[in-house]
């Protein structure tokens, strides 16, 4: 017997005759009166920030808030602040000098400040992590209450990669002291447009 057969045979022999049924997973859960407010508070609590763009363009916002960013890349078409094509090469290492990555997020989750990022146009998933700073563009009003609604919208019928991003990269591995900016972005802003 190979390993697979041995493992499966052992499981079959060992599982009980009376088995636990699959429970109902759509349990009753919290709904927020003001999802925007909750999202902002949750994101702030994990070191991120959320801003709603009123009349400015994304380019103007970037110029104002990221004056030091030299290398800017984006998966969004038509931005003039972009000066590097994130999909240019097949090997992602050329992204190591990116100061700011502007990427699209599909929707935010109010309870935890996370944004679902699954961008089929983006060739290199490492972009979200290798950039020094991250700006996530989310359509205004695209917010759900909890992870329950979030997973109703998440699909993996085909292959791919997607991630919930909640704030910047962080660690508390040295004496429980929170440090923002471990390996990934030191700053993660969510911009509702």
């Amino acid at each position: 017997m190979n390993a697979k057969e041995k493992i499966l045979a052992n499981i079959k022999n060992n599982v009980p005759a009376i088995k636990e049924p699959m429970p109902q997973t759509n349990i009753a859960h919290v709904h927020f009166e003001n999802k925007e407010e909750k999202f902002e508070a949750a994101l702030a609590s994990v070191g991120g920030n959320a801003i709603t763009l009123s009349h400015e363009s994304i380019d103007a916002f970037v110029a104002k808030h990221y004056p030091d960013a030299k290398v800017i890349t984006s998966t969004i078409d038509g931005l003039t602040c972009k000066n590097k094509d994130a999909n240019e090469q097949d090997t992602p290492h050329f992204l190591e000098d990116v100061d700011l990555a502007i990427v699209e997020g599909e929707f935010g989750v109010a309870e935890n400040g996370a944004v679902w990022v699954k961008n089929p146009k983006n060739k290199h998933r490492v972009l979200y992590f290798i950039a020094q700073r991250l700006l996530i563009i989310v359509p205004k009003g695209a917010l759900v209450d909890t992870m329950h609604e979030a997973y109703e919208r998440v699909k993996f019928n085909t292959s791919g990669y997607g991630t919930f991003i909640s704030g910047p990269s962080k660690t508390a591995d040295i004496e429980q002291a929170l440090v923002i900016g471990a390996h990934g972005p030191t700053d993660a802003c969510v911009l509702f447009v």
Partner: protein, 458 residues
């Protein structure tokens, strides 16, 4: 194991100040967990649901594993099966050698710790870099992680400072956590960019989609796995969940239970390799399928490795991760270790006050305290208790079964013990009195006092 939990814990508590510091550091995390869980009104429903999903999956594990494999293969993910640690390590090495990998970056995986993968690969000449900050710190120091979520929780920032002075040439005497984290960031960026392959663990394997989820705060798993062309993920068979939507339950519980965060910074779903790369998942048993047959211990396979039971455990907090002598410390480690080898880990079920706090915080409701209580009975039944403790308990059992003898011995003890010299009362036979003082002996037993009172009333 030459030394059991009491002997190893003795070393830890020798430094009283550090023991209390450790206790407080863990309690701080436990308090954050409490705050986070209390902010979710449906918390108990989530726990209940999570426990049932896990038990359902374990009861149907063979079919869910096959479903996972079928769907993963359809997405171009390679699947391997490893019956034990040795097979797991051989598969990893073969994959690395096929691609001529010299440098490997790893994100946190307690499974690879369990398999002792690092020394195995290093012996074959492969550079293995643990990229979680806490894991990198202990790797520099040639120590194992002392906690499954907080690998360097036993260290003070000054310890990390001196370690980094040696390995990363940081400023002498600078132990500022931000400064040290930045130094590690620069050091590890270079490792990420030069790695030939990446390894990660798996938090959840999804049968329905054939993909898996990895949760980190630092982003090290994604940064590691997103650069090289080869990504190998090691997954214990018990990590499977049936559906993608089940993740709603588990992602709401995991980080809140672990560190009190509403969710980890990154909850990443892998359903494909990187462009032009390969993604391999190794499904590992290593003793897990044996645990299924025992109804008393089956629940331990529900564990999602959040560490909440460890943070709350009064014994762990005061004895440290290294006192367990097993890859996973604390209540969950004690039951898993005892399941693996009761003779080797016979002291672990006793590293417990049976307070039950672990079971109360567990997000998947594992009956940890009950399991440890049952393991104790196995230890006794298999004559592993040790002559002294065994004899004392045997005598005590016999005495307590004979009320007249119990009364008489009590009387004798109350009369004689207070007159005995310390050297006899606190002799080596008095294990309990090693670090404790006996209370003053009362004149009467409870029974005598009760009878006297009853007499007064009449």
């Amino acid at each position: 194991m030459s030394q059991g939990h009491p002997e190893l814990a003795e070393k830890f508590i020798a430094n009283d100040e550090r023991m209390h510091w450790h206790d407080k550091a863990l309690w701080f995390v436990r308090a954050k967990r409490d705050n986070a869980s209390k902010g979710v009104a449906e918390w108990e429903d989530l726990r209940d649901c999570a426990a049932k999903i896990k038990m359902h999956t374990i009861d149907h594990l063979d079919s869910y594993l096959l479903e996972f494999e079928k769907n993963a293969l359809a997405k171009g993910i390679h699947i391997h099966w490893a019956y034990d640690a040795q097979e797991h390590n051989e598969i990893v090495l073969k994959l690395l050698q096929e691609k001529k990998v010299q440098k490997l970056v790893k994100s946190k995986s307690m499974l690879t710790e369990e398999c002792h993968l690092n020394p195995y690969l290093e012996a074959a000449g492969i550079e293995v870099v643990d990229t979680d900050l806490g894991e990198r710190i202990v790797q520099f120091r040639k120590e194992p992680p002392s906690h499954i979520v907080l690998p360097a929780i036993h260290l003070k920032k000054e310890d990390v400072g001196t370690t980094f002075e040696e390995f990363l040439h940081t400023q002498k005497g600078n132990s500022d956590p931000t400064y040290l984290t930045r130094a590690a960031r620069v050091h590890l960026r270079e490792k990420f960019l030069n790695a030939d392959a990446a390894m990660t663990g798996v938090n959840f394997g999804i049968a329905e989609t054939g993909g898996f989820v990895v949760c980190t705060n630092e982003g090290n798993a994604d940064l590691g796995a997103g650069l090289p062309k080869l990504h190998i993920a090691s997954m214990g068979i018990e990590k499977i969940i049936p559906k993608l939507s089940d993740l709603a339950i588990f992602t709401r519980l995991l980080a809140r239970s672990a560190t009190g965060q509403p969710v980890t910074s990154y909850t990443s779903h892998y359903h494909a390799p990187v462009v032009g790369g390969e993604l391999h998942v190794i499904i590992v048993d290593n003793g897990r399928s044996d645990i299924i047959k025992d109804k008393d211990f089956r629940q331990s396979l529900q564990c999602i490795r959040c560490g909440a039971c460890i943070n709350t455990c009064p014994v762990y907090r005061r004895s440290g991760g290294y006192s367990y002598g097993y890859t996973i410390p604390g209540p969950i480690g004690s039951t898993l270790g005892a399941n693996r080898n009761i003779s080797l880990y016979k002291t672990l079920p006793f590293a417990c006050s049976l307070c039950g706090s672990c079971s109360n915080v567990c997000p998947v409701k594992i009956d940890l305290d009950q399991q440890l209580y049952k393991h104790r009975q196995t230890v006794v039944a298999q004559n592993l208790l040790g002559f002294k403790k065994h004899t004392i308990l045997k005598v005590a059992t016999w005495v307590m079964k004979h009320p007249k003898i119990l009364d008489f011995s009590g009387k004798m003890a109350r009369a004689i013990v207070p007159k005995l010299p310390r050297s006899i009362v606190y002799s080596k036979a008095n294990l309990w009195g090693k670090q404790r003082e006996l209370p003053p002996f009362p004149k009467q037993s409870f029974k005598e006092a009760y009878q006297a009172k009853k007499g007064d009333r009449k």
